[in-house]
Symmetry: C2
Subunit: 596 residues, 2 copies
């Protein structure tokens, strides 16, 4: 099945539900929607015609490792070269390094398209962008000069080397070692696991960003430094020099993302250490890493949206084509899309996907404002908003990717279980999104313990007030097309408001209980915020219809918002109960935990 | 990781929460719990030591097809032979055919153990038992004499041939043809797909049960007949004769269950037809098929329980072993089981698994009463109960298999995504359970349109009254160990009661709306019933503790029931809203459905 990038949906959302029009009007973004639409359109075509076709092949072939060299599946290198030659690798980077400096709201949409076409392909660009951002924010002028233009042009790719066998979610436990040399460089020793595109054959060099400890570093996360460790050293003239001792010692046999090599990397195994260059200050590596990680977290949320969108398109196409049984108003055998239970599944897929996209694009929009607004107070407020929304966007959207792709299998019936159909691959691919770049449990803990308490709760409460306003507008409109969306949404937002007060107290007073209820709280947040975002877009669509517009997409947006409010936002009630109850039993469960 | 069959849990449930003790006391079941416990124990050991070890190998090797012959993975045949030689294949069958006629509640537990050890292995026995049941209920004495002893001893295996490319959920569309011969046999022509163990090398003959149409049969489901079509014909002396024209033309490359061959079967491709024997009456095949299908539906629910249990055991073992980060009260690096969010995931897995098992065993228990009680009115009532619970047990437990195994991956973090860990296989294996033997959407429709209206709603209302009584007992007990389980459960049961009234009216008056809300209704049913069943068992455990018993499992059962009520049964509120709202928007969604 071919992939059709949701260009109109993204464009409509950017126009009606983000600050991009304002930023353009104020001259803070030097773009028009004509240009944005052209970029989206072009990217959509590229994703559908160049990347999507080899995604199944890549899944089937996977990657192989021989003598430290990784061979990626047929077509991967050609697609990557075409993609970087077309300039897509640099859309988010600064112009001084050859980038196009497009707003994050726009580049997030592009990230969605690449990853919908092939997440095994798309993740490489996500990591490279992370490296670009870390070097842009923290690298010395010299490091920037050497590495950024090649990363921005896509000639080289980037990696993030955090995880070690004993240090997954707990970076404090990492042991990789860095020893300073007389010439100011460092020698790096250690083993890193789960390194995405740690080794490959699609570009000529690989720029590893590696966390390691200096010999005299403090224990824990305050003793971690960040280094650039290129696969090939770079000569003064920019040409490639000697092979560095950064070697792929193994690749994982994974549930999905078969086209993307996941490597065990050894640094300095030959004895003298891999040559590395310090990024930022010694012992301040974690702050640098968070620069790339926060953006990577949003990008992983976008991956969830991407695979959900692809799975949804595939399920709709199948349901329109597959005939089975009778349905009211249909002569003979009916396409299964005519059956109410199948409709319910398809609408769930569509609504979850659109809500996840809305959460990601709203996060991206807040990031844009945090960078572009002239007023520093407004910038800080936008940054606080982005910080709060990032874990929600990452966790909810990655969960949505899993749930929607699982529903996609269900819509296909028995065919969904057969690999050739393609529906199963989406679930296999999506399953990692809830894990990498910080598990969704870590996201929920981040939300509750670090993001809610920002400004004593003022940040989250202002956002909730905004969601409430949307719900009230829908209720006040009292339009039949919205069904009971207004009251259902208001209930969800009110539940979120109450649960937020509970959590703000709890973080201070009962931290263990806060941790035990962080995940249901995050989901409650996403149910209310996602519903409000969809409703906001639907209100714009409603106004256009009232003014005479007839594009069927306008009516569809209203239906999706209604469906979400009436069928998914209503989960809020139960979730609030779980939060209030302190995840009853979790902290008193020793008997169960001992027995297993 | 080794599998340890939950012998004590099953035994405790049978003793405290089913009618088995009463049936024993009345002499209707000629067994004691000493014997039952010994059987469970023996089966558990066999499952853990003989079957479980080759499950990963089977997944990795898969099946191959060459010249119509299927080779199963290494160890499958040996395990199957040991299993049938030990007498496990015949535990549910009647004694006159060599079976042991054990109650379904006990055999369901055994089915769980085999399928937890390896669902790719276990599904073969499920299908064979289906064939045994169909022949026992509907076969002529001659057919029974020829086929039953060999099926019961496991010397031969059975299959169910329903699905055709154009006829999946819609059996009315099936086209396979049967032509009567002068000698009373039939010639069968047609192609069947997704036939589990349709061809294999683990037993000497395969007894296919095949649905087909006679030339003059009425259209639709009233023109379907059931035939036995053996792979090898059987001579008068019981020895194997000529090869029948029932041939495996292909096997599927599936998401999971790699060890189980899923075959495309052609009948009569060589021209003269495969030789078949009519089961039951002409054109009454569907009724016969439902005999095997209803029991297979329960067995698929049990498969969900099985994989959920295995995934839960694996996650607990990992969480106790894996150290990461700090936790209150733990020196140094803490096992991740000490982290509240991990505890929450593990308790969710345990509670969902136990609730699913309770639903399946209660269904099995109703089946036992429907067969064994002396009073025909009581038997009919038990049958109505079993009929109602079967779709709930199938759908909820299969969904639980998927959700729990997905959570199991999450508990493992990055390791969960690596196939060698084993956690990912559980999700791949479990994903089919929601599809085969009637998709979960079909189960929900069956529940709402056929099972709720039994006796004008009296059947369902009596069950709900029973769940309410349990909730009230918990509330009345007012014991701290139960937390707020009593009120939470009562709310869930009340929500179910109200939603049931809505649905009973709707089935008659607004059938499309009933269909659109059938799935959320079924889940609501399972939330209330599952919670009540766990609470019933926990009440028994509470009484034992009050009387001085100290087995830590008793406390664990109470915690699990509490956790379920406070964290999972609370979903009921939102689900009731969805049911009441008529799955708002589903039936007015043409704009979305047209766009995709």
């Amino acid at each position: 099945m071919s992939y059709r990038a949701p260009v109109e949906e993204v464009s409509y959302f950017l126009k009606t539900s983000t600050s991009l029009p304002n930023l353009m009007a104020q001259g803070l973004v030097d773009l028009s929607f004509d240009v944005v639409d052209a970029v989206l359109d072009e990217a959509g075509k590229f994703a559908g015609s160049v990347i999507a076709p080899f995604d199944r092949v890549a899944d089937k072939q996977g990657c192989t490792l021989k003598d430290g060299a990784v061979t990626t599946p047929e077509g991967m290198r050609a697609a990557y070269e075409a993609w970087s030659e077309a300039g897509w690798s640099g859309v988010a980077a600064e112009e001084e390094f050859g980038g196009q400096n497009l707003p994050t709201s726009v580049t997030s949409a592009l990230t969605e398209f690449w990853n919908a076409a092939s997440p095994a392909f798309g993740i490489c660009g996500v990591l490279t962008l992370g490296a670009i951002e870390a070097l842009t924010a923290h690298g010395s002028a010299e490091l920037q000069h050497i590495f950024l233009p090649k990363l921005v042009s896509g000639t080289w790719t980037g990696t993030m080397n955090l995880t070690e066998p004993q240090a997954g979610s707990d970076l404090a436990a990492l042991r990789s070692k860095a020893v300073k040399q007389a010439d100011g460089t460092y020698r790096i020793f250690g083993t890193k696991i789960f390194i995405t595109y740690g080794e490959h054959d699609i570009a000529e060099n690989i720029v590893h960003l590696v966390l390691a400890r200096l010999p005299d570093a403090p224990a824990g996360t305050k003793g971690i430094s960040l280094f650039v460790v290129p696969k090939f050293l770079v000569n003064a003239d920019g040409s490639l020099g000697a092979r560095n001792d950064a070697v792929c010692a193994g690749i994982e046999h994974k549930l999905g993302l078969h086209g993307s090599p996941t490597c065990t990397m050894t640094f300095g195994e030959k004895g003298e250490g891999a040559i590395g260059y310090l990024v930022g200050e010694e012992n301040r590596g974690l702050a640098c890493m968070f620069t790339m990680m926060n953006n990577a977290r949003l990008a992983v949320g976008v991956q969830g949206v991407a695979v959900a969108e692809r799975a949804t398109q595939r399920a709709f196409a199948f349901a329109k084509d597959r005939k089975q049984g009778k349905a009211p108003g249909v002569e003979g055998s009916a396409p299964i899309i005519a059956h109410p239970d199948v409709k319910r599944m398809l609408l769930t897929m569509r609504a979850e996907t659109d809500a996840a996209r809305a959460l990601c694009l709203k996060t991206a929009d807040a990031l844009d404002r945090s960078r572009l607004l002239p007023d520093p107070i407004a910038r800080a407020a936008a940054l606080a908003e982005a910080s709060l929304l990032t874990p929600v966007a990452k966790a909810f959207s990655s969960d949505a990717g899993i749930e929607v792709s699982s529903l996609g299998i269900q819509v296909h019936g028995g065919m969904g279980y057969v690999e050739e159909t393609g529906a199963a691959q989406h679930l296999r691919d999506a399953r990692i999104f809830a894990i990498y770049e910080g598990t969704n449990g870590i996201q929920a803990i981040d939300l509750v313990t670090r993001k809610l308490p920002q400004e004593g709760g003022d940040v989250v409460n202002a956002l909730i007030a905004d969601y409430r306003e949307t719900a009230e507008e829908v209720s006040a409109l009292n339009a039949p097309d919205f069904g009971h969306a207004g009251p259902r949404l208001a209930e969800a937002v009110d539940a979120l408001g109450r649960a937020t007060r509970v959590m703000l107290d709890r973080v201070a007073d009962e931290p263990a209980k806060a941790l035990a209820t962080a995940t249901p709280y995050l989901r409650l947040y996403a149910r209310a915020a996602g519903g409000a975002f969809l409703a906001r877009t639907a209100l714009a669509a409603y106004a256009e219809r009232a003014a005479g517009a007839t594009d069927p997409r306008l009516a569809a947006r209203i239906t999706v918002a209604r469906f979400f409010a009436e069928n998914l936002a209503v989960e809020a009630k139960g979730l609030e109960e779980v939060v209030n109850g302190g995840a009853g039993g979790v902290l008193e469960a020793e008997a169960v935990l001992a027995l297993g």
